[in-house]
């Protein structure tokens, strides 16, 4: 049962001794050098085994990780990892996630980087392997038998002569005092008994029975309740606050104003909610917002920070001389993380120390942000991750942690802040709006000779990191500046191909000074990106920019393929040379019984329901997971409504840690992608955001006709472990767009594919009137 409880419960009930032992004895003064995780120096030295792992006298293993679980399954797979390497049952492993007092600084849990970081030959994986070898070494001494003649099962080391000794007896309650070995061998996937298996999620029983502690459930002695009052318009500033307007509210403790940050604290949550609602704040008006209709044109015209990712320097000439050139522009809106639970955090900020219970993805960066906001030194700020509702990126988790800290500091008591739904929608860092222009030229035999892509992405703020609390709304309201976009011309690309945002299509060779890192074969190539100042805060939202760029690339590939009169699968394969992306395309097509023919289908009637299929593929971040998706949809040509019937995903993330968890991520990613494709968009008027609740921001509820989702998992035991949480979602808009085209011959180039937009595209079909 221990694993079913949350970490706080665990610490409270059974693990305190182990936790304290590891926490206090490893506390050292802040290092001055850069930490080994490309992050920040921390007091917990990741090169020491004891920073990662402790074994209690009863043989229970406690592992400390800087990668936490928001529902994507990291708790379960990291438990499996430790259990596998140490050869103990999963129920004897407790994983402590993301707490600045005890876990190593692994930066932010994001970007599909947890598996690459902790499941290859370093960090948690290597620590667990080191611990196993260290324990075998100790056992060899005690039992007088060479280590290679010992076997381990369930934490019990056995010699052939029958003598046995347990991990608890060998090390229980004591430090290993050894460095994490860089050479100790991991257990080979062919030997796995725990990893690679569909172990059910460790938290399911607690979740299903209401025993699980979310950050919303944290209660601290003496805790009171805070609410915030956000500016009604973008860019509005506080002119005055009439504290008398809420003096009649019982239980009110304080009205807190810090520059443009306004909040209230009261004994009870309902009182705080009432006070926030009734507080009279005079705001200066904001500068106003551009009409949403013309927003993408605005993006194109702004000064921008430019990066040339790839340039064969022959693109303009080739486009000019080509017999057939295709052009298309794709638009993607701002979208919300829209976590189902509005964000919540608890803070207890005192004169010389602070404790924050936070749903943040970044406990160490948040430690520094809270320090900047409160003046409490960073090493006196403890940030403890407690799961919030699924975040899918930078939702309001960081900002609400700042809210709680500011309010707690003002009243010298622990304060819990619950954002309202409206607060959440106007407080978070949206997924970026993008404009993507594509051009391609076909050579004489119908192959693509040139692909040129230019992207514009709106950007303001982002992850606060260690230095930039102004990157989220509360930091900005309290007086910190968001990271600015300094306009900059693009230099010619040098070094390795960087495709972390999938701005470079899979079909180009990706050559920089003779080194070709692309997945494809097209030699005429140019990709130029522009970051443009956004009126709204932006930040990572599941598959940030990668989804937007892939939508444009994979739809454009379909357009080119149609123009060449080729089958979209065969035409993709013709331009790919990286085996792993080729394999997922083939696997998805096979599983979907893909009928090889060009799109659109011929002779489909232009009225009624039209069925179609579309494909899309991606090498996520260039090399962090591979997937292909076939979408089968039906287009109601009278209403413009899209009904998705079936999705087939082929997926390769290297060695699979947990096939059931992986399928869960793929299924959720596909449907979340479908929701984002069909209905989700932030809307605004001339001064403020108008998508502020579930009536104005459109998500697909549980009661939809849920499409069939089939997954083909390609296991590659010897490959590097790569990410899996964001691959499938990256493909959905493109695959649906291509299926609509296949069904009807209409191309929708702007997400979301609302019925109106689909009808418009249907009317624009050649010969339509």
């Amino acid at each position: 049962m221990k694993n079913e409880l949350s970490r706080r419960d665990f610490v409270k009930t059974s693990g305190a001794l182990v936790v304290c032992f590891s926490a206090t004895s490893l506390m050292e003064p802040f290092a001055t050098a850069q930490g080994p995780f490309d992050t920040h120096p921390s007091h917990i030295d990741p090169e020491k085994l004891d920073s990662w792992l402790a074994v209690a006298p009863d043989g229970t293993v406690t592992a400390y990780t800087g990668k936490c679980d928001f529902g994507q399954g990291m708790l379960t797979v990291q438990t499996q990892l430790v259990a596998e390497e140490l050869r103990v049952p999963v129920n004897r492993v407790n994983v402590i996630q993301c707490d600045t007092s005890v876990t190593p600084d692994q930066g932010t849990t994001s970007g599909s980087q947890s598996t690459p970081t902790n499941f290859n030959n370093r960090n948690l994986a290597q620590a667990a392997a080191t611990a196993r070898d260290a324990l075998l070494g100790m056992a060899a001494q005690k039992l007088g038998v060479p280590a290679d003649q010992l076997t381990v099962k369930d934490g019990l080391v056995s010699a052939k002569n029958g003598r046995q000794i347990s991990y608890g007896e060998l090390i229980g309650g004591k430090h290993f005092d050894v460095p994490v070995s860089t050479t100790t061998k991991r257990r080979s996937p062919s030997e796995w008994t725990v990893l690679g298996k569909p172990v059910p999620s460790m938290d399911r029983v607690a979740l299903m029975t209401g025993a699980f502690e979310f950050v919303h459930n944290v209660h601290v002695p003496g805790m009171v309740h805070g609410r915030v009052v956000r500016p009604p318009e973008i860019g509005a500033a506080v002119a005055s606050v009439d504290e008398k307007s809420v003096q009649h509210i019982p239980g009110l403790i304080k009205v807190v104003v810090r520059k443009n940050f306004v909040g209230v604290v009261a004994d009870k949550q309902w009182q705080a909610a009432q006070a926030a609602q009734h507080l009279k704040v005079a705001w200066t008006p904001g500068p106003g917002l551009l009409p949403q209709k013309n927003f993408h044109d605005y993006l194109r015209k702004q000064p921008s920070r430019d990066v040339m990712l790839i340039n064969s320097n022959d693109v303009d000439g080739k486009l000019k001389s080509a017999s057939r050139v295709l052009k298309a522009t794709y638009l993607y809106p701002y979208q919300a993380h829209g976590s189902i639970g509005s964000s919540c955090a608890v803070a207890d900020v005192r004169a010389d120390h602070a404790t924050i219970w936070s749903p943040t993805q970044s406990v160490y960066p948040t430690q520094h942000g809270i320090s900047a906001l409160t003046g409490v030194p960073p090493d006196k700020v403890q940030v403890i991750f407690v799961r919030g509702s699924g975040c899918y990126g930078l939702n309001a988790a960081d900002t609400v942690s700042y809210d709680a800290a500011l309010l707690s500091q003002a009243v010298h008591r622990p304060v819990r802040v619950q954002l309202t739904r409206q607060d959440e929608f106007i407080s978070e860092n949206y997924g970026a709006a993008c404009l993507i222009e594509q051009q391609a030229a076909l050579d004489a035999n119908g192959a693509i000779g040139v692909w040129s892509c230019e992207t514009w992405a709106a950007s303001l703020g982002g992850r606060p990191g260690y230095e930039k609390p102004g990157n989220v709304i509360t930091g900005m309201l309290a007086g910190f500046e968001p990271e600015a976009i300094t306009p900059q011309k693009a230099a010619e690309p040098t070094g390795e191909l960087r495709n972390g945002s999938n701005a470079v299509p899979s079909y180009v060779v990706g050559c920089i000074n003779g080194e070709c890192g692309g997945a494809g074969s097209i030699r005429g190539e140019r990709v130029l990106t522009h970051a443009v100042k956004s009126p709204f805060f932006t930040g990572p939202l599941r598959s940030p920019l990668r989804l937007q760029n892939t939508f444009a690339h994979e739809c454009f590939m379909d357009e080119i393929s149609a123009s060449a009169g080729a089958d979209p699968v065969a035409y993709r394969l013709q331009h790919l040379r990286e085996t792993r992306i080729i394999d997922v395309v083939k696997a998805a097509a096979k599983a979907a019984n893909w009928n090889s023919r060009p799109s659109p289908q011929r002779d489909t009637p232009r009225t009624g329901a039209a069925p179609g299929r579309g494909i899309a593929c991606v090498a996520y971040e260039g090399d962090n997971g591979y997937a292909a998706l076939v979408a089968e949809v039906e287009v109601d040509q009278a209403t413009g409504r899209i009904l998705a019937k079936r999705f087939i995903v082929a997926h390769d993330c290297g060695p699979i840690s947990n096939p059931d968890g992986l399928r869960n991520q793929i299924e959720g990613g596909v449907l979340q992608g479908m929701s984002r494709t069909l209905g989700e968009t932030i809307t605004w008027d001339d001064h403020k955001v108008t998508s502020i609740d579930w009536r104005t921001y459109h998500t697909l509820p549980l009661g939809i006709e849920v499409p069939v989702i089939e997954t083909v998992l390609i296991d590659r035991p010897t490959a590097r472990a790569s990410g899996a949480g964001e691959t499938a979602i990256t493909l959905v808009a493109a695959a649906i767009g291509n299926a609509i085209f296949d069904a009807t011959g209409a191309r929708v180039r702007e997400v979301p594919f609302t019925p109106d937009r689909v009808k418009e595209a249907l009317s624009a079909r050649a010969g339509e009137r």
């Binding site: 994507q72 299903m208 459930n217 739904r421 596909v670 549980l702």
Partner: protein, 154 residues
């Protein structure tokens, strides 16, 4: 403020609260129950759902004074980790969750429907679940779990 008496998961509790206080705040703050959660505060998403006299009710928009004489059941009132209720077991068997924040609304809404109409056709289940949101989009598994529960009580 006034003394408010509530019958929750078979136990009677008396708390001091403004009668207009949403039931959710009393359940989660005063009684420290973890099942019902604040999702939207507007009755739009379902995460705050409780069952009151057999009906699924959104506790975030229900004043506490209006439910004083009634039987209130939260997610933790269905079963325990050791002895889960059949619908909880069905969700475990299907692995029907990601973050799990929406589960209270999903399970209690489905349970209230199927308790009243055990043979509810798929269309009715769909219609009822159209007011419930899951942003991890664990829809496939959740709808399968609901059907599994329906079969288990047939």
């Amino acid at each position: 403020m006034a003394a408010v008496s509530l019958k929750v998961n078979g136990h009677v509790h008396t708390v001091d609260a403004d009668p207009q206080t949403p039931l959710l705040y009393v359940l989660s703050d005063d009684l420290q129950l973890r099942g019902p959660k604040f999702g939207c505060g507007l009755g739009q998403c379902g995460t705050c759902t409780v069952i009151i006299d057999g009906r699924a009710v959104r506790s975030c928009v229900t004043p506490v004074s209006t439910v004083q004489q009634q039987e209130i059941t939260t997610l933790e009132g269905l079963g325990t980790p050791e002895k889960p209720h059949a619908i909880q077991q069905a969700f475990m068997d299907e692995g029907a969750a990601q973050c799990g924040f929406c589960l209270s609304g999903v399970m209690l809404t489905a349970k209230a429907l199927l308790d009243e109409n055990p043979h509810a056709p798929d269309e009715q289940i769909q219609k009822t679940m159209s007011n419930v949101l899951c942003r991890c989009f664990a829809h496939t598994r959740m709808m399968r779990a609901i059907k599994r529960y329906q079969r288990s009580r047939a």
